[in-house]
Symmetry: C2
């Protein structure tokens, strides 16, 4: 495969070019004993006893597939690792399903696969099974990736937002809106300022740090599509609680705020890919905050509000002393944000 | 959602339309307690002890997405169930990752989801986690589906084609080439004969029937992309064995043979989605054959040849007494066959 080669339909045909793609590009990047067996399924033998099994899936269709701070490969590994981490699981193995468009430069595929491999290493997971399909030019857009993942939860340690309740403090692990704003700025050619970059990162280590701080975690969720607004509104509705959050306490980068102002976007509705929201009893909020801030991915963590009894709603207390209802996004702000 | 509605970008935005799609269309079809928890990951608590875990993934991009004998939904469930069954696992849970193209009729989506639900029931698996993305018109082609799956293998009962060896008989569980030929005939508007239909089906029950017959199964594989030719050549190369197969013993429907002749295709290179190849010690071949034939999906099972020592190759002994080397397909016969 030369540097200038592109993906052909035959790379997805199951024949010799598919084999070449697997052997020369995918296996060297992901290589591990389970994957290398190349059977129809990965077989996992060393299973922890007395654990529950977490299982999740996500497809990634972000456009553009490379952006400041990451690419679709880093996103695909991080997003699925994060879904596992949010229920209290230690992420273990991922699958990798590629849908490639005919004409994709092989150099781009190689870079994306390399990025997946590096992010997997960072997140202590292995990619143990995969699949590659190729669609004709005009039936895709470069590359779509599905990752599914499994992880293990010590029995009785599962975390679910079903435990969120009045008396909880609401924390975020860092600045809001970085990913979505970066993608949008890329697409609109807004001319990026130097610190505008996606926050995409695997969060299992940060989630573990929070759990090991000894606080009782009542819920964690990563505010991706629809942003913090969608996440909080969804949980408020499901748990029939009111959430009060303080605008001044929500960390937002000035560059992100500037772009959102320019485009008339609500920062709270913009996707994040390297942050989570956590709910802990109010009296343990400081301990949780300190634990998060000690981790490199939680340096900007903040306590942003609290859960109260009341009509299901999310109320933002503004800098000027006002209050407004936070709404989930209704239309499609940003197609193909993740 | 009216009958004439189509998928909008906002159905993938993570907001209220995404919720509506999940609540009105996906949950009613797939509904089970694990899925209904709607956490970031499915949490599975009743895990069998003393088992290995099988994990696999496949994306499905077949065109057209409805075809005689099935649709992309039945294919997506069957294909992943079959990959689990081929290593000796009992398929347990699947994920469902949808990539929808803006403009897809919601009635079509509903039919496909219903087909997934019915096939899952037939295969005794549950769909416990999912994800929906929408891509703009022109960046997809109706619907692509990824299913990943997990299943359980009693410890020590894993099946791998690494055990295929000289002295094995080669069986197929039924007629070859039905799926690929049907898809091609659809696309070329060849005018379908009444019995030309895809064989797409979940094979876990048939695989179990074979294992429970008491024979020592040295390998199973479903000959999908690249057909029987690809499957046998791949295993012959990996195990450094020669395989001798007899043309007269390979079951092929006359309608399939006719279309392949018409289009200059080699039936052995055409995809199957409801058949598998099995390797068992020659002296147990009759027992295996009888066990397969007792199952509704194995009525046309046949012993087609044997594994011998020799230069890695697959030799087809023809009806006229000749012999030719079977080659894996090199180019792309049929893009988007699965």
């Amino acid at each position: 495969m030369d540097r200038d080669d592109t993906i052909l339909l035959a790379h997805g045909g199951g024949g010799s070019l598919t084999q070449e793609l697997i052997e020369k590009l995918l296996l060297p990047a992901f290589g591990n004993d389970v994957l290398l067996a190349l059977d129809d399924s990965a077989c996992l033998t060393d299973l922890p006893s007395d654990h529950e099994l977490a299982f999740t899936t996500d497809s990634y269709v972000v456009s553009p597939y490379r952006f400041p701070g990451g690419d679709i490969g880093r996103l695909a590994v991080s997003g699925t690792v994060n879904d596992l981490a949010m229920v209290g699981a230690t992420p273990a193995q991922l699958s990798c399903g590629l849908i490639l468009e005919e004409g994709l430069p092989i150099a781009d595929l190689k870079a994306i696969v390399q990025s997946m491999a590096e992010t997997a290493q960072e997140a202590h997971v292995t990619i143990v099974t995969g699949d590659t399909k190729v669609v004709p030019k005009g039936n895709g857009d470069g590359i779509y990736i599905n990752t599914s993942g499994i992880g293990w939860i010590p029995r009785g340690r599962r975390i679910s937002v079903h435990s969120v309740q009045p008396g909880d403090a609401i924390l975020v692990t860092g600045t809001m809106g970085d990913h979505g704003t970066t993608i949008l700025a890329c697409r609109e050619n807004l001319g990026l300022t130097s610190d505008l970059r996606s926050d995409v990162a695997p969060l299992a280590g940060l989630a573990t740090a929070l759990q090991e701080s000894g606080v009782e975690v009542h819920g964690m969720r990563d505010p991706t599509r629809g942003g913090l607004a969608q996440t909080l509104c969804e949980i408020a509705a499901r748990q029939s609680v009111r959430m009060d959050i303080s605008q001044d306490d929500i960390p937002v980068r000035p560059s992100v705020e500037a772009i959102c102002d320019l485009l008339g976007l609500d920062t709270l509705q913009v996707a994040n890919e390297g942050k989570f929201v956590a709910f802990v009893p109010k009296e343990q909020a400081e301990i949780a905050w300190t634990a998060l801030r000690k981790h490199p991915l939680g340096l900007d963590a903040a306590i942003i509000g609290e859960v109260n009894a009341g009509r299901p709603s999310v109320v933002l207390h503004t800098s000027t002393g006002g209050a407004r209802l936070v709404e989930p996004p209704t239309g499609e702000l940003l197609p193909r944000i993740c």
